[in-house]
């Protein structure tokens, strides 16, 4: 007689959850790249004038941290990013929900958005400088523009995709306009809106770097640009590294925020 056993998988101790494994792999790939880069620079496979070894970049970074220079540039860039996100995101949110709920408003604004959306945002920079001058206004405006479009488009889509039955429930239970907005349209569209914000903040980060290269005396974009003009290649890499790290941390933070504000989303 023979019996067939159904495998119960590896023993519990050897099993790691898929999430832990993902996190591990997430760390391994950038770390691996840095190691390969370091070795290549060390053994002269790459030209260290253009690709300085990560160790020398890190040394420069520590030096710049010590002088407070790096922190100041990072802080001002983050501040511009934050103001721009709020100033672009909030109007986009309100307009997006209005467009989602109200057909005439949608008909009114759809062509404007469709026409302006494809214009490369960096091409607007001279116009922003013309209107807002070299001060903070032009930088914040650039971020706001970058955040505005993905948020307004995603919010409209999110509201339009809300199951009609929820709007019927709202009508049947006599929800007024305000309550329809707060209790149905906003939470119903929130998952899609969050995606819009993630995209928008990513674009905002690109635009802030570009804007600071041209019309600023501070910020990470300025840091990179001035490093180029003085051929301080290590400093340039420090600027690039910090932007990459900011992008990475923002993604992590927004994912975490998403879990907090959308507790009803099934795993």
């Amino acid at each position: 007689m023979s019996a067939q056993t159904i495998s119960s998988g590896p023993p519990a101790a050897a099993r790691i959850s898929a999430r832990t494994r993902d996190r591990l792999l997430n760390v391994i790939s950038p770390l691996g790249l840095l190691i390969v880069w370091e070795l290549a620079a060390h053994f002269g496979f790459i030209d260290t004038r253009f690709f300085p070894a990560p160790s020398s970049v890190i040394a420069t970074m520590i030096e710049m941290l010590r002088t407070g220079e790096l922190v100041a540039h990072t802080a001002i860039s983050l501040q511009r990013l934050a103001y721009g996100t709020v100033l672009g995101g909030i109007p986009a949110l309100v307009l997006g929900i209005a467009m989602g709920l109200n057909r005439p408003i949608r008909a009114l604004f759809d062509p404007l958005i469709a026409a302006t959306y494809p214009v490369p945002k960096s091409a607007i920079l001279p116009l922003a400088l013309l209107i807002f001058g070299l001060g903070e206004g032009s930088k914040i405006f650039m971020v706001a523009i970058g955040v505005f479009f993905p948020v307004v488009i995603n919010t409209t889509t999110g509201v339009l995709e809300i199951n009609k039955i929820y709007l019927d429930v709202g009508r049947n239970y006599k929800a007024n306009r305000w309550n329809t907005f707060w209790t149905i349209a906003l939470p119903g569209a929130l998952p899609v809106i969050m995606t819009g914000f993630k995209l928008g903040i990513g674009i905002g980060l690109v635009l802030i770097a570009v804007a600071e290269m041209v019309g600023a005396k501070s910020g990470l974009g300025y840091l990179i640009w001035s490093a180029w003009s003085t051929f301080a290649v290590e400093q340039m890499y420090v600027g690039l590294f910090v932007i990459a790290i900011i992008g990475f941390l923002l993604t992590l933070g927004l994912n975490e925020l998403e879990r907090v504000v959308i507790p009803w989303k099934a795993e």
């Binding site: 039955i165 929820y166 429930v169 239970y173 006599k174 209790t183 099934a266």
Partner: protein
């Protein structure tokens, strides 16, 4: 004016009244529909339906798919307009909402907890917090959901989600309850449990109910009177009173010959319509 617990006297007795099963004078509504017609473009969905629904009647509508029964209910709910004809709804208590609907399928908000879903109608009416707490607490208890008050819908089974929908409608304390095949998505056991629960909760106050179903068993088990509708365009085919005593027990009912006769009778008049609908 007295303060303390008495300061809510303006609103409280009306809502709290329903918490007292011995409410001597429940306010009820009656519905009068005359020659109702509804067209969607070229398609006539409802073609001259006239019916009077009494105070406190549990009124069932059965008919083949596409006979306009959902449209009729949506018109009563104020979610669709009429093409011609009149609907009168008597409202003895003007403070109560006219109707609350229990929708077919999932209609509770995924982004609200069970509690917030059940309290939705009362919140929209700006009822005071202590009253909401009492009323919602009562109906969550009646639907067996007290333990799940803080859960989100995705953590519940389909049957439990539909219970939340029932609690939400009853808590809103409307003149009329409108139900659009509320149990059609449930499995047979859950369906039976919820039907029995619904009857138990309804017996507390015997509000006027208009209930749509395609199940003849369900119509006979729940209803006081059944309206059979024709295939599209929807007309009244016949009315069948259900003289079975209440409270009803499905096990007892199934033994009674009267129950079987009613089902056979309704099914025979419905069958032609279902076949006609199929042929269309």
């Amino acid at each position: 004016m007295k303060f303390g617990p008495g300061k809510f006297r303006g609103n409280m007795p009306r809502l709290l009244a329903k918490l007292d099963p011995a409410d001597p004078l429940p306010a009820r509504a009656a519905i009068r529909i005359r020659d109702l017609r509804k067209r969607f473009g070229q398609l006539t969905a409802i073609d001259g339906v006239s019916v009077e629904i009494a105070h406190g009647e549990f009124f069932m509508i059965v008919g083949p798919s596409g006979c306009g029964k959902t449209t009729l209910l949506r018109i009563l709910a104020g979610l669709d307009s009429v093409t011609s004809g009149t609907i009168e709804i008597e409202t003895p208590n003007s403070q109560r909402p006219m109707n609350s609907m229990i929708f077919q399928g999932d209609s509770i908000f995924p982004w609200m907890t069970v509690w917030d879903n059940a309290a939705y109608g009362l919140k929209m009416r700006r009822i005071s917090r202590p009253v909401i707490k009492d009323v919602v607490g009562h109906y969550l208890a009646r639907t067996g959901l007290t333990r799940f008050a803080k859960y989100y819908p995705h953590q519940l089974s389909g049957g439990m989600r539909q219970r939340v929908s029932i609690a939400r409608a009853f808590a809103n304390d409307p003149e009329i309850l409108l139900m659009d095949e509320p149990f059609s998505a449930l499995d047979a056991q859950n369906k039976l449990l919820l039907q029995e629960e619904l009857l138990r909760i309804w017996e507390e106050h015997k509000k006027t109910v208009v209930f749509i179903t395609h199940s003849v068993d369900e119509a006979v088990f729940l209803g006081d009177r059944i309206m059979v509708m024709t295939a599209q365009p929807g007309r009244v085919k016949t009315f069948v009173p259900v003289p079975l005593p209440r409270p009803r027990d499905i096990m007892e009912l199934q033994k009674s010959p009267q129950y079987g006769e009613l089902i056979a009778h309704i099914w025979s008049s419905l069958r032609e319509e279902v076949q006609r609908a199929r042929a269309q």
